[in-house]
C-alpha cells in the first residue's frame, strides 16, 4: 500500500477517494455531488470578481460598461475641462417631469476616476413648472427646494480641468431602478432577448411539433362536402374584398387554389410544419436575423404606413426576437416531435379508450411525459440560443457582444473586451445548465 511507503500524514486526496468510494464510485473523482448548487454559483462569482479585480481595472471598466452600470442614476448634463477659476454651472437636460429629484454633480479626472462631488440638492418640481432659465439653486437645506422651473441650474467650483457630470440619483425610488434595469443594455438585454425569444420558440415549437406528429395521410373524404362549401364562402369573400381579382381568369385561379387548399386541409398540418422545419432549419441563424431586421420588418412598416390603425413598426428589438423565435421554433419542433414519439403508443390508446379526445390525451397524458423526456435537449437549445443571441448585434442592438465591441472601439483594448464578453457568456450558460439540472431533478418521477 502506498501509505506504508510514505511516512507521515495521509495524503489529502485519499479522503476524497474514500468519499467517492462510499458513493459507489471508484477512480479519481472530485466529489461534485457534495457541493451544493449555490456553492457552485458562489464559486463562479468568486472567480469572476477575483479575476476582474486582481488582473486589471480595465476589466472592471469593461464589465461596468457591458452591464450598462450604473442602474441607480442618470446623467443630465456634462461639462468638459473646467476653467482656471474652477467655477462651473450646469442646467438639466432633458427637462424634469413634475416630482421629487435628487441632483448632484460628480468631478472626474481625465482617466474617468471620480475626484470629488458637489453638494446634493433635493428638489421638488411643481406641477405647473415650465422650462424657464433660472438662477443657480441656493445652498441645499434640510427640506426639498420647491421649483417652478423644470430645468434647474446647479453651479459650484470643481478642481481645475476636471470633467463635471450632473446626475439625477434615483436610488431611493425602487420603481425607477427597476425600470432602468429593465431597459439596461448589455447583459440584461441579452437575458431579456433570450428569455422572450425562447418563450416564443417554445410555443412555436410546441405548435409545429404537434403538427409534425399529426396524421400525414389522413382521410381526405371526411367532411369533404363541408370543407368545399367553406371554400366557396372564402372565394365569395375574396370576390367582395379584393376587386383586383374579379376578372374571370384570376377568379378561376383563385377558386382553384382555395378549393385545392380546402381539399387538402386535413393533410395541411403535417405538410406545412414539415415545410417550416426543413426550410428554417436549413437557413443560417444570422441570415434569418438579417432577413427579419432589414427585409421583413421594414417592408411591413412601409406596407402598413397607410393603414387606419397606424404603421406596424417591428424593427429593432422585436425583429431580433421574432427572428430568434422563428429560427429556434424549427429546432424545438423536432425536439418536441421526438419527445412525443418516444412515449409508447399504448399511452395514447389507454387515454383514448377512457373516452378522452385526441387533444385531451395529448394535454393530460402524452405531453406531461414528453416534456420530461425533452427537458435535457430543451436546456441544450436554451443555452445555444443564449449564445446565438450575440447574432442580434448585426441589427445594431446593444447586447453583450455589441457593448463589448463598443467598449473596445473606445479603449482599443481588444483582449480585455473580448475576454469580458466570453466570460460573461460562460457564466450565464453555466448558471443556465445548473438551472436546467435543477428543473430536471424537480420534475423527475420516483423510480426513474
Amino acid at each position: 500500500m502506498a501509505s506504508d511507503k510514505i511516512p507521515g500524514s495521509q495524503p489529502a486526496s485519499l479522503a476524497v477517494d474514500a468519499r467517492a468510494r462510499r458513493r459507489g464510485r471508484t477512480g479519481l473523482a472530485l466529489p461534485w455531488e457534495s457541493i451544493p448548487w449555490w456553492g457552485v454559483i458562489i464559486l463562479l462569482v468568486g472567480v469572476i470578481v477575483g479575476y476582474s479585480v486582481f488582473t486589471s481595472t480595465r476589466y472592471i471598466d469593461a464589465l461596468y460598461f457591458i452591464f450598462d452600470l450604473p442602474w441607480n442614476k442618470q446623467a443630465l448634463g456634462r461639462l468638459d475641462e473646467v476653467g482656471e477659476s474652477g467655477a462651473w454651472s450646469l442646467t438639466t437636460k432633458p427637462a424634469l417631469e413634475p416630482g421629487n429629484y435628487t441632483l448632484y454633480a460628480e468631478f472626474q479626472d481625465e482617466t474617468g476616476a471620480t475626484v470629488g462631488r458637489s453638494d446634493v440638492y433635493r428638489v421638488k418640481v411643481a406641477q405647473t413648472a415650465s422650462e424657464v432659465e433660472t438662477e443657480p439653486l441656493p445652498a441645499p437645506g434640510p427640506t426639498p427646494i420647491q421649483l417652478q422651473t423644470s430645468t434647474p441650474t446647479i453651479a459650484g467650483t470643481a478642481p481645475v480641468s476636471a470633467t463635471v457630470v450632473l446626475y439625477e440619483d434615483f436610488s431611493n425610488n425602487p420603481w425607477r431602478v427597476v425600470k432602468r434595469i429593465w431597459s439596461a443594455n448589455g447583459v440584461l438585454l441579452t437575458i431579456r432577448v433570450t428569455l422572450v425569444a425562447f418563450a416564443g420558440a417554445l410555443i412555436l415549437g410546441l405548435l409545429f411539433g404537434l403538427m409534425r406528429v399529426s396524421n400525414r395521410s389522413p382521410d381526405l373524404t371526411l367532411n369533404l362536402g363541408r370543407r368545399l362549401l367553406i371554400g366557396l364562402g372564402l372565394i365569395a369573400l375574396l370576390w367582395v374584398t379584393v376587386p383586383a381579382w374579379r376578372g374571370l381568369g384570376s377568379l378561376v385561379v383563385v377558386a382553384a387554389i382555395v378549393e385545392a387548399i380546402m381539399f387538402l386541409l386535413p393533410a395541411m398540418p403535417y405538410t406545412f410544419s414539415t415545410l417550416y422545419v426543413e426550410m428554417v432549419r436549413g437557413v443560417p441563424m444570422l441570415v434569418i436575423i438579417l432577413y427579419m431586421g432589414f427585409a421583413v420588418t421594414p417592408s411591413l412598416r412601409n406596407a402598413s404606413q397607410d393603414w387606419a390603425t397606424g404603421a406596424i413598426d417591428l424593427r429593432g428589438l422585436p425583429a431580433a426576437i421574432i427572428g430568434l423565435s422563428f429560427g429556434y421554433g424549427a429546432y424545438l419542433a423536432e425536439v418536441y416531435r421526438a419527445g412525443i414519439q418516444s412515449i409508447p403508443k399504448g399511452q395514447m390508446e389507454a387515454a383514448r379508450s377512457l373516452g378522452m379526445s385526441y387533444f385531451q390525451a395529448m394535454r393530460y397524458v402524452i405531453l406531461p411525459q414528453a416534456i420530461r423526456v425533452v427537458l435535457p435537449p430543451l436546456g441544450n437549445d436554451f443555452i445555444a440560443m443564449l449564445k446565438d443571441s450575440s447574432l442580434i448585434s448585426v441589427v445594431a442592438l446593444p447586447e453583450v457582444l455589441q457593448q463589448g465591441r463598443l467598449w473596445i472601439s473606445r479603449n482599443f483594448r481588444a483582449f480585455e473586451g473580448f475576454n469580458s464578453v466570453a466570460m460573461l457568456y460562460l457564466v450565464m450558460t453555466l448558471l443556465l445548465s445548473l438551472l436546467v439540472r435543477f428543473i430536471e431533478r424537480k420534475t423527475a418521477l420516483p423510480g426513474r
Partner: protein, 246 residues
C-alpha cells in the same frame, strides 16, 4: 336493459393491415351481463377484434354496433368509448400519475366530475381491487399484478357497461395472475358484460358463458367452456388445445 337485445354486434367485419388480412368477416353478438372468452393462436385476430369494438382500429368493411350506437368514422366514438372499458396486456398506466390520479384523471376530464368526487371514487375502487394502501404510489413502484388491478380500476371508474380485456394476465409473473383473475371474477359475478382475450382455462371455466376460438381472422368455433375444452368439434380447435393443454 332488455336481455334479448345484444349490447355488442359485429356483422361481417373485415380489417386489413397492408397485405395482412387480420379479420375475415367476423360476426359476433354479445348480450348484456354475458362473459365471452376468446382464445386462439397469436395472429388470429383476437386482439384486433377487441380493438375494433373500442374503435382503436378502424374497420375496412362490416358493421359494429355498441350499446345501440353504430361505430363509423363520425364523432360518436368518444361516446362509445366512455361506455366501454379496456384493459391492456401491458397495463398502459400513466407513469407520471399516482394510482389515484390514474383512476381519477379521465373522470375529471371526460365525466366532468369534481376532483374530490373523482378521488373518492378512485379510492373506493382501489379498495375493491384490494390495494387501498397503494393509492399514492406511482406505477413504477407497483408490481405487475398491482398495476393491472389499478388499470382495471381506472377502466371501472368510468362506469362502463362493457369491459374488454386484452390478455390481461399474459405479461404477469405466475404468482400475480390469481390476484388479477380474482378481480375479474368478482366483476363477472356482478353482472358486467365482458369480452376477455385470455388463455386462462380456470377463469374461462369459472366465469365464461361462451367461448370463442379464432384462427386466421375468423371465428372457427363457439361453445360453452366445458364443451370447447372437453369436446372440441373442429380439427383446428383440437390441434390448438392439444398444444396449450399439457
Amino acid at each position: 336493459m332488455d336481455k334479448k337485445e345484444p349490447i355488442i354486434i359485429l356483422e361481417n367485419v373485415h380489417k386489413r393491415f397492408g397485405h395482412v388480412h387480420a379479420l375475415r368477416g367476423v360476426s359476433l353478438e354479445v348480450y348484456p351481463a354475458q362473459v365471452v372468452v376468446v382464445i386462439g393462436p397469436s395472429g388470429s385476430g383476437k386482439s384486433t377484434m377487441l380493438r375494433c369494438i373500442n374503435h382503436l382500429e378502424s374497420t375496412d368493411s362490416g358493421r359494429i354496433v355498441v350499446d345501440g350506437i353504430t361505430l363509423d368514422r363520425a364523432k360518436n366514438i368518444n361516446k362509445v368509448r366512455v361506455e366501454v372499458g379496456m384493459v391492456f396486456q401491458l397495463f398502459n398506466l400513466f407513469p407520471h400519475l399516482t394510482a389515484v390520479e390514474n383512476i381519477s384523471l379521465a373522470q375529471r376530464v371526460v365525466r366532468q366530475r369534481s376532483p374530490d368526487q373523482a378521488q373518492e371514487i378512485a379510492r373506493d375502487l382501489l379498495v375493491k381491487v384490494g390495494i387501498p394502501e397503494k393509492a399514492d404510489s406511482y406505477p413504477s413502484q407497483l408490481s405487475g399484478g398491482q398495476q393491472q388491478r389499478v388499470a382495471i380500476a381506472r377502466a371501472l371508474a368510468m362506469q362502463p357497461k362493457i369491459m374488454l380485456f386484452d390478455e390481461p394476465t399474459s405479461a404477469l409473473d405466475p404468482e400475480m395472475i390469481k390476484e388479477v383473475l380474482d378481480v375479474m371474477l368478482d366483476l363477472a359475478k356482478e353482472g358486467m358484460t365482458m369480452v376477455v382475450v385470455s388463455h386462462e382455462m380456470g377463469f374461462a371455466k369459472a366465469a365464461a358463458d361462451r367461448m370463442i376460438f379464432m384462427d386466421e381472422g375468423a371465428i372457427v368455433e363457439e361453445a360453452t367452456p366445458e364443451n370447447l375444452y372437453e369436446n372440441p368439434q373442429h380439427e383446428r380447435t383440437k390441434l390448438f388445445l392439444s398444444k396449450i393443454l399439457h
